[in-house]
Symmetry: C2
Subunit: 606 residues, 2 copies
């Protein structure tokens, strides 16, 4: 009864996004991407997809069932990970988007996003090692001196050593201003670190010779708060001549995570023996700023993971629902007739279509955001760079939180479609549901994303981000009109943009008038509202593409696409525009009227 | 950092519901409950609460970590369960609501519901054994002959033997019409059973000498479908003189459930050796009808479990949020000040208040539904019995599914409030999240509840259930007006009733016009809509009680209640009426307009 294969991500969607939604060939005209063409991109994604399907996915449950063990103070991961990690590093994914100068292949992030979607859907934990290493190495590339780059970054981009982001401390949680790990300068150029970190993913393992912790700490005498936090490169083992010697970073605990069980999450103690050496990255007291410059990238990766985790479960649910027979149609209850596939029940199709709308809408959004990152970094026209940068900046909290929140709902629907079987660990959907839950917590909780979106990003530059967004949405509206999409759909999205603009302006006035608490009281509703509109935008775009395709000779582009493929896009677009988009009026009312039940709630009353 | 105690359910709420919302003393005037008074009720609930807090809850994680094992074809449960099961049976909970004539104590179901809420919140799995036994014994009490009653029912009500509901088969799932287990009559009065069952909770264990399976099977030659299914009493061991001998019910598999891990879920094979004897309960071919007569009761129990599972997590989240410090208020970002409790962050209070609104609103609903069951069964006035019966009939799908669906969301919020710690199994919220997921699946999925509500219950008797509901809601509205509740709140609920009435009439016309599929297309939205209104009703009732209490001298009734306690009720009422209730207009539009994206979706397109 269980499907034995899972596409992880729909191949047709990948081609559709590259060729019909975004036109990836535009990127190849930029100097940074000039060496690439449609074929090299297809090969890169194809290699990632093959690895994901042939190696990562088949090992998924194994890693979930046998999480890492802490033995004599060192972490042993599942032996199968050795093979997976080798496969990932051989693909060159760690450095792929980085410049040739540092060993990369200058692959567009939008292409990388699609490759990652397969790999994350196949095995989020296994991909985690390389994703974390990429982020840590990128920090060194951007801010470290040549010595640190040659010693650490190069080995990390090659996958010889792995990296971590060592930010969180037990007492501080999301509040990086309260970091207390200390770094004491020495006359030898390094610092001596002392302190505790927690929830450090990939913080120790036996896959590589070394782990390099990008560590936030406070130099003695630094100012309180964010402005006194510096970034250090702190290896698990430091080089002593040609030898790697222990650098006094001890594993003090292994968190028993409920998902991502192939990747250890650790509590670490720095300098218990007074001999933990770290090297300052960049300037003192700039650690938070450096981290935040990487944060958009990290948050996009979390969002992508959310999409991937919902995608693999969606495909599993579709495959299961097609073969699972149960009951009869409402109008044919004769028990003598054989039971039908559960896809014949409207409510099962509702659950599948809802998953599809969430998964595919979010996938387009995440690739689009990565595309804006490509343009923001590498477009030749400064105006285009600025425009793309503003869009990326505004969309990042949505990219991060929408797949986490609605993806969790989609993952729960995949369990539901499996019925009693879905409630057992003989089937995979329950594991993906556990995996997904992390994405609303790490790299800034949903509440933090909401406050960041409304309090900072929507307000930045006098609302420049929203103006840029409105402009992009209007391009889609015009495209949809030209393609013959139902005018009501287009009008609904245009009206939604007007709702967002008016609401944001009103909230900005409230904030500027000094009522910051009132402005941000419904930040989570504002995030929900803007996310709903942004996903509606993706679906109108997909509807335009589908309409155009259906009007022409089929199949086009990908030979495996047929009229049904495009009709399903129209169905999901309709679903989102009619079921989800109308929710924004109520959300706007909550934001505007400032419904104050929890504002005035004294927690002692509970 | 982890709270060491958890109240499971708020004691003040229990008293509030009994004394100020429902006035339990009214029941004591009915002959069936005449022996009870406020004091015996308090003692019964108190004993259940003490067992829940002192024994059930402390064993919760143990049972979750060490699920039952299948050893040599028999299930061994966690040894601690022996003590818990003994405690539960000593309380007499299995037979508590049943008549003296069968060994019961004639405890009102509304009182039982509150006692159960504590026990289920403490340990859903442990309570599961007695809950299942109660349901199975009640089937025998209602439909079996004296021989089966004296042999089986009596021992089950005493807890000497346990019971199961053996309905589901691997190929049939929710579709009971497709049951294929056969029962062949013999000349000795018993039948020989042969077939497979799956997901049989408590289907084998080593807590008691025997397990009695209330089994649906088809007598040779029976008509196809529901009308050919009979009910059998099939023990694991049958009596041979004074001896218990094996009855050929084999355990063929242990489901690895993701929650409720103290209670085994099994695959069973009947009659592999051709010697599985079963005794017909009641008349042939009436099995489904008998089961359905017990179904309301079973569904209320599932709903109560959903409330309890969300309640224990809510209380854990409140306790954690009060002591966990992190960050600073929006208007006081000075890093030199100490971090504040996370309850100071509005979004954390939002998450807590949302949980509270779901948990307490649903608890009142579930006790109210049980109260209607008490009246439907035991009121002396036939009109009152009929009225209460209609309300119970209409509300049951909401009682079953609302706590499962919104409770799951509340449970996820409890994880979220715990941040990274919530994602680890060192903390309990993740376990309750897993437990909760079952409630949308067993005893009829949410989709089935929705179709049952709209297709059958809302239509029954020309909409008699909805008329009865409107009458009850109007009593609450009048009470709220008299208590001085904001007139807008009352008007909003009255308007909601009008929305429901108009929508239901229109959908009824659609169904009567032959478009049953169109009528039921948005059954899940209809269920969501009516559930939202019904919970708003509970909150208006609570607001009326709170307003009245705040107007009088405090403390009243329970000395531990203060003004803050009642103010929190007003806050949660406001939250629900302003945040949730306005959603009904959009839901009504979906139902009425028949948004048809998934109606026309061909699953082959996906």
């Amino acid at each position: 009864m269980q499907p034995t294969t899972n596409p992880l991500v729909d191949d047709r969607d990948v081609e559709l996004i590259l060729d019909e939604v975004l036109d990836v060939t535009r990127l190849f005209r930029l100097p940074y991407f000039a060496e690439h063409d449609r074929e090299t991109v297809a090969m890169f994604i194809g290699a990632a997809r093959d690895l994901a399907r042939d190696a990562l996915y088949p090992a998924y449950r194994l890693l979930d069932l046998e999480p890492p063990q802490l033995v004599d103070g060192r972490v042993q991961v599942h032996p199968r990970l050795r093979q997976l990690y080798a496969g990932l590093t051989e693909l060159g994914v760690i450095a792929a988007p980085r410049p040739h100068a540092v060993g990369g292949s200058q692959v567009p992030l939008s292409v990388m996003a699609l490759a990652c979607a397969y790999m994350m859907a196949g095995n989020a934990s296994a991909y985690g090692y390389v994703g974390l290493t990429q982020g840590a190495a990128h920090l060194l590339e951007a801010f470290a001196d040549d010595h640190l780059k040659s010693t650490y970054m190069t080995r990390m981009y090659a996958g010889t050593w792995t990296g971590t982001m060592a930010l969180t401390e037990p007492q501080a949680g999301s509040s990086l201003a309260d970091i207390t790990t200390t770094a004491t300068p020495t006359s030898d150029g390094h610092y001596l670190l002392r302190g505790s970190k927690i929830f450090i993913s990939g913080g120790d393992h036996d896959l590589a010779d070394n782990v390099v912790h990008m560590t936030l700490a406070r130099i003695a005498g630094a100012p309180a708060g964010m402005k006194g936090v510096s970034l250090f490169c702190v290896p698990k083992r430091r080089l002593d001549g040609d030898q790697l010697v222990d650098n006094d970073v001890a594993v003090t605990g292994l968190i028993h995570k409920i998902g991502w069980r192939g990747l250890p999450s650790l509590a670490l103690a720095y300098g218990e023996r007074g001999d933990c050496r770290g090297w300052l990255v960049g300037e003192p007291h700039q650690g938070i700023r450096y981290m935040f410059q990487m944060m958009n990238e990290a948050r996009i990766m979390v969002g992508l993971n959310g999409v991937a985790t919902a995608s693999v479960a969606y495909h599993e649910a579709v495959a299961y629902a097609r073969v699972r027979t149960q009951g009869r149609p409402l109008t044919a209850k004769d028990p003598a007739t054989p039971p039908v596939a559960i896809t014949q029940h409207a409510d099962v199709r509702r659950m599948l279509l809802r998953q599809k709308a969430i998964v595919e809408g979010a996938l387009v959004l995440l690739v689009r955001a990565s595309w804006y990152a490509d343009l923001a970094n590498h477009a030749t026209d400064p105006g285009e760079r600025e425009h793309a940068g503003r869009l990326l900046e505004l969309l990042t909290p949505i990219c991060k939180s929408f797949p986490a929140e609605k993806g969790f709902e989609a993952n729960a629907l995949a369990v539901q479609i499996h019925g009693g079987y879905g409630y057992s660990s003989e089937y995979l959907p329950e594991a993906w549901l556990r995996d997904q839950k992390l994405n609303s917590i790490h790299e800034g909780t949903t509440g933090i994303q909401a406050a960041d979106l409304l309090g900072r990003r929507a307000m930045a530059g006098g609302g420049a981000g929203l103006l840029a967004l409105a402009k992009e949405i209007e391009i889609t509206c015009a495209r949809a009109e030209a393609a013959g999409v139902d005018p009501r759909w287009v009008a609904d999205l245009r009206r939604a943009v007007a709702v967002v603009s008016a609401l944001t302006a009103e909230l900005a006035r409230r904030g500027l008038g000094g009522d910051v608490e009132g402005m941000l009281l419904h930040a989570t509703d504002y995030l929900d509202l803007l996310s709903t509109v942004v996903i509606a935008w993706q679906w109108l775009e997909l509807a335009a593409v589908a309409k155009a395709a259906l009007a022409g000779p089929l199949p086009r582009g990908n030979a495996s696409r047929d009229a049904g493929y495009y009709q399903a896009k129209l169905a999901a677009a309709q679903y989102w525009l009619f079921t989800e988009l109308p929710r924004i009026d109520h959300l706007a009312t909550l934001c505007r009227d400032g419904e104050d039940s929890y504002a005035k709630l004294d927690p002692d009353w509970l």
